[in-house]
Symmetry: D2
Subunit: 430 residues, 4 copies
């Protein structure tokens, strides 16, 4: 296939479903990527501030992961192994135990679910219901937990929910997230009142499921006090605490788990996205041992435990989390991001910063404006996307490993794109 | 990690969830695999008659797929690309169009769902409900379609269903599969009577979902007449026909799609398992163009469209399906399998053959007996599993590419294992 | 209001909801009724072969019930008493215990539910789920159990179900009634296969609910063997047996309970319709004492235990069921009905008799023909209605107390109406 | 049966279900009642401050209703007439149109549902879903709408919900009622935020259902502003407004409808309890004509339209609502009630008044205290009950027709009972 053919996108309109989406905003054919840069079939290079929606926290094609994976394939290492024991899985589990769990004084079993976040969430929902004998799960406004029917019942977005064509999304109560009713309204107190009132109509919950930072919901970041309050409520009401760290985990907020410094102990933790290190499909559910009451194969799946992903996930853990060097670097880079975004926000009347760590963005007030800024940034060589109920947040999800210079360059493009967009609007308004 | 450490399985009891299953039957640590053979950390080699539950139809680590994947990784080809256009995806779609769809005169859009069969099934359920504005989906006894809440509502197995902890499995009617009530009972006629009776309590269906051969349900194979009848009923009642070809597709029954020779045109076809060629997580939903009414991102997911899998899936198509050589070979091998299984069945009083193509097995009458045969086979170097509501079927799912000599060797082991088991039972009964 | 005004029906089109139905077929204003005859505002008299859909088994305004009720009202007896103890309730319960339960060697608690059949059914559903800890309830094709959401989920009729506007009707499995698949097909065996197959997708049932004769569903009468089979299946599968005797009970089939001679012991028996004797709103759920695990007020309602109905229900029991005179008369009248209907059926090609006891009718093959016959009968002074999924059955539900001469007169009108209708069709077809 | 036998209550423990409740608090056998007084089998007389839970707003056995009903029965007026036209129904509808609807400039169709409040609520739910094509219904904390599965899904009380034994209560969102989060928290604003946020997880509602005063929920009375806000939200979001006036209607709050002076126009109004005038089972759904899209019999029921109740309901309308005399009297009596309750509340530290009109009570802070006061009042000849999530409210629901002197006497007993109870507690605490 010639380069020209590669750049041809008619195959997509002819053969790929209308459900496709990102390719509509970034309408080119990508052929390679390394670190924080992506290259298309025309040889254009883009800085990646999307990072596979936080699936590429360690950048594209990390050389050590590549080398390990190529070595594994070359020596006929297992590619598909159901949930059999493999050397790759042993080594992953040992690294995860030694470098992630033990240093954090955490004791969890690892359940290899189907290799998608939504599958880990579904496993968590089932297990919480099985453990408690209850059905109701409390999810939050602006939550996103996945698109299969169980996870979708937890998800807030009406368009995603509507895609189910009227299929049943039951046994879930949607409650206001921290800050959902504006500053000064204590949503925790209200949730507590609803649960304590025996006539509120809210059935006793099997679980609370919460994202410490809502990646799809607009980078809403819960306060430590609120998260502790939810943890306390869960305990008081006999419910499990499920912390969905799929998008915010793996260093994205500055620590491996996004809730590490909050003093809470989740019962169940769905992980996915950057968990494989290299963007390969991989997900797991971390389970407090006392809750691990599954019968063999009671929740199973053909691709649970992606062997290639075990290889790269182990390298990711050993390379980035063996000591605190990486974590310290993340703190510095987060400050750089905050100050960069503050400068950009000043260009947009009424704009405000959202999120925390390396999961920050700017609420520019409207989805149209945010989309326009992102489109203009793409023209200028930066890949960046929106988030939020109305797509009103320009969201930065750069690889955590992005070199400072490139990171600044990306922020500069974003600043220029924002300025140009705002100026265009001013002109149009005159 | 030394070989000794690799063979150590205490990490699994310490850290892997109780949900793990296959590793309990095949309790060793696998380190490499090639073609139809797997090797463990002690250097033992096993013939693989499980093939990742039909995910490895082309064998382990096919050299051409390996080469293409290593080349892709080496040159920094995309590893994770959301649903962006990539050269790998273009090339896969073009090969699929040219070598699979066109020669079969089929016109389908390809929806890249999350890379698991259950996700493709959930997408099909949503779409059928969206297209028809109805909710009820008719599934069949002994069906298995996946473990997320939507797909699970279609699944027959009570233990799998029970794992949902009482979560809701609604909007599905379970009907008897072909032969479910024994020979001579026409289940199609009864389904028709239920649908035609306006007071049967069965709501008008959005879809029928059917496996042409029930892989998990005991290798029940529907007749062509019955499948045509279901297709006709679907049309008459304004319902979509979903043919789940996840386990039976990709050549397993002798043709690329298991329903090719039945003269039916499914509206939606979930594909997974061997669709990537090399056992990598990958799934897709084939959609008749008129039904492709998705809005962008209405069903999405982080790992939809696994780029590494595009590379190997394209090689699989080009290598095995460019002409009819492979398909002819499959027919011959299926006959070899049938005659081999007949010889084995003669050893077991009351045993009978199930399935078709290279998806056949022996119903030995009890799950205990079948499990014992499989356990003994494992001791003798053969990996093989059971199937069916009571695990009563010994199921052969060898790689389609297994060389004849090795295939016969596997069947010989199965024969010996069966003889030994039956003899043991006779002794015990005396 | 003058007689003329009384005959005016514009108030109905102006003020009564479109949901009204019987008044459309019998478009006159009724002013009084006695025994088996009703009189309208124009002084016309009609023989009643509808009997309030079996709510007036003892005829209109039985003189003894009238006298007792007038006496009760005159002496300021309680009219509304919630579920307080009243002399009227004590006397009803004592009569029911002494003359209904004890002679039949039955031991049941009486739960005063809201005074409608659907409420008694809902109470039965709740209790069966509470007792077993299961949710699924098995109901049958052509079943009718009521119109509130719980009872409606059991009901077969698609038009009734559709009236719920897409509200959820879950946790019910609809199975084929005796004879639903035609003669020679043993639906019991098939239900048993579905329940015994652990992969059928049918969840373990909390209960079976069955009408011994399906009043709304077309006068399908289950055989004793089939009913015994269902009772056995319920016991074997740990489910409760609910026999809905709302329409078939209170003597309609020849005995007080319609299942008396079948050798089965239902766990729960919803009663309503003729249970009050005089057509007053009244319903109850009979509960085997071991299942009576309700907490106080766990199922309640403002009108549970209609005091006026206690008065008339007691009279009905004492007057008709103190010895077997009434029951013997029912047997004779049923034979008269059968022979009368046979003569009529001979007028209609392909017609057949349905039902048993004084709950019989003629399946004339089409709803149009049946409706035409009923309309013509009304013109001739007989009130009679259709039944069945397609309204294809002309159903006789005369008061059980109808004098023989009047009964014969009614049958004669029906014969004439049928002949005239069939003759009209013959003419039209020429 | 001798008087002695009548007083015997062993028949209840022997034969009435454990679900019975009021008879446990008021453990005597009532034999007659007139106006606001009830008499038991021992000749004891009680003042009735319960009034059949607001079903006896016009007192027991009103002489005019009695006379009309006896006359109707004596002349063989219809007792049961399905939904046929009857003189009794015509006259009721004409009186309702002339004296209730027209003077209030209201235009509604009357749907005769099954004769219970819960049935009218279920009909409203179905119709709202049918009209809007949506499923979600918004109900409020502490709401009570009935015990059948549809209405129960709206009901807040966890014990009532739990009685469903895990049956599904879906498609309802429970929101905070006016004041549910304490003074100063604007629940309306929060409901609006949840509905306006496309990612809140709250599906677009088919309807809001609200009680202007929550009878079972603790006499919470919504403000006019809040009710107007809910009406506005319903309109803005394309939802129907259902005002459940079952307990608060028929004069209980001082006007025929409890919302008359609020400037709102409900789409659907379920009525029951005192709608029959004399406590006979009777319910109806008032429907704005444009929403009356029922097909004939799409929601039906054997006892819809209780003919005896038509007779007494007409008398009630003509006697009490032909001019504003009765309504003026209600205003005066409500003031008497308020001042009487204030005096009583002063006896209980921390107590506060709840409710409005003749539907007021005292929140005494605990269910135990409230129950003790009621029990002591019963000993002193007053029948009165508690309300609220914890039964913490002593609720006065006297017949509206109670003569002033008797009303004062009842309040005096309540004052004495409260004083004695509080004094007893003080002693115990010393």
């Amino acid at each position: 296939m010639s380069t020209e053919n590669i750049a041809d996108t008619t195959i997509y309109t002819r053969r790929e479903s209308e459900a496709r989406s990102y390719c509509r905003s970034f309408d080119t054919v990508f052929t390679s990527a390394s670190g924080s840069e992506m290259t298309d079939s025309k040889g254009e290079t883009y800085i990646d501030f999307l990072a596979g929606c936080s699936s590429l926290n360690y950048g594209h094609n990390d050389p050590d992961m590549k080398a390990a994976l190529i070595d594994h394939i070359s020596r006929d290492g297992m590619s598909h192994a159901l949930d059999l024991h493999t050397d790759a899985k042993s080594q992953f589990l040992e690294a995860f135990e030694r470098l992630i769990l033990k240093p954090r004084d955490m004791d969890y079993k690892v359940m290899m679910t189907g290799p998608t976040g939504t599958n880990a969430v579904e496993a968590a929902m089932k297990l919480a219901r099985k453990v408690t004998g209850r059905r109701n799960i409390i999810a939050f406004t602006n939550a996103f937990h996945g698109m299969t029917m169980g996870a979708l019942s937890l998800t807030g977005n009406s368009s995603k929910r509507g895609g189910a064509g009227g299929g049943l999304l039951a046994d879930v109560t949607h409650m206001p997230y921290d800050g959902a009713f504006g500053e000064g309204v204590d949503t925790l107190a209200q949730i507590e009142m609803m649960l304590s009132n025996g006539s509120s109509g809210i059935d006793a919950p099997a679980a609370f499921i919460v994202e410490p930072v809502q990646g799809e919901g607009g980078l809403n970041a819960a306060s430590t006090e609120w998260m502790q309050g939810i943890a306390r409520l869960a305990k008081e009401h006999g419910a499990l605490l499920i912390v969905d760290d799929i998008q915010a985990g793996c260093g994205r907020t500055g620590t491996f788990f996004s809730f590490e410094k909050m003093g809470i102990e989740p019962d169940l933790i769905p992980m996915a996205k950057s968990f494989s290190g290299m963007g390969l499909p991989f997900a797991a559910l971390l389970i407090k041992p006392k809750h691990d009451i599954w019968k063999p194969a009671e929740h199973n799946g053909t691709f649970r435990g992606n062997t290639h992903a075990f290889v790269t996930a182990r390298v990711a853990i050993e390379k980035f989390w063996a000591d605190d060097t990486f974590q310290q670097m993340l703190g510095e880079k987060a400050m750089m991001l905050t100050s960069g975004l503050q400068a950009i926000a000043e260009e947009v009347p009424g704009a405000s910063l959202k999120g925390r760590g390396l999961m920050q963005g700017i609420d520019v007030g409207s989805g149209e404006l945010a989309s326009e800024i992102c489109a203009r940034a793409f023209e200028m060589g930066l890949i960046i996307e929106t988030s939020g109920a109305e797509d009103e947040v320009v969201k930065v999800l750069a690889p955590l490993t992005t070199p400072n210079q490139l990171f600044r360059k990306g922020l500069d493009i974003l600043l220029d794109a924002t300025r140009a967009t705002v100026a265009g609007h001013r002109l149009a308004a005159q």
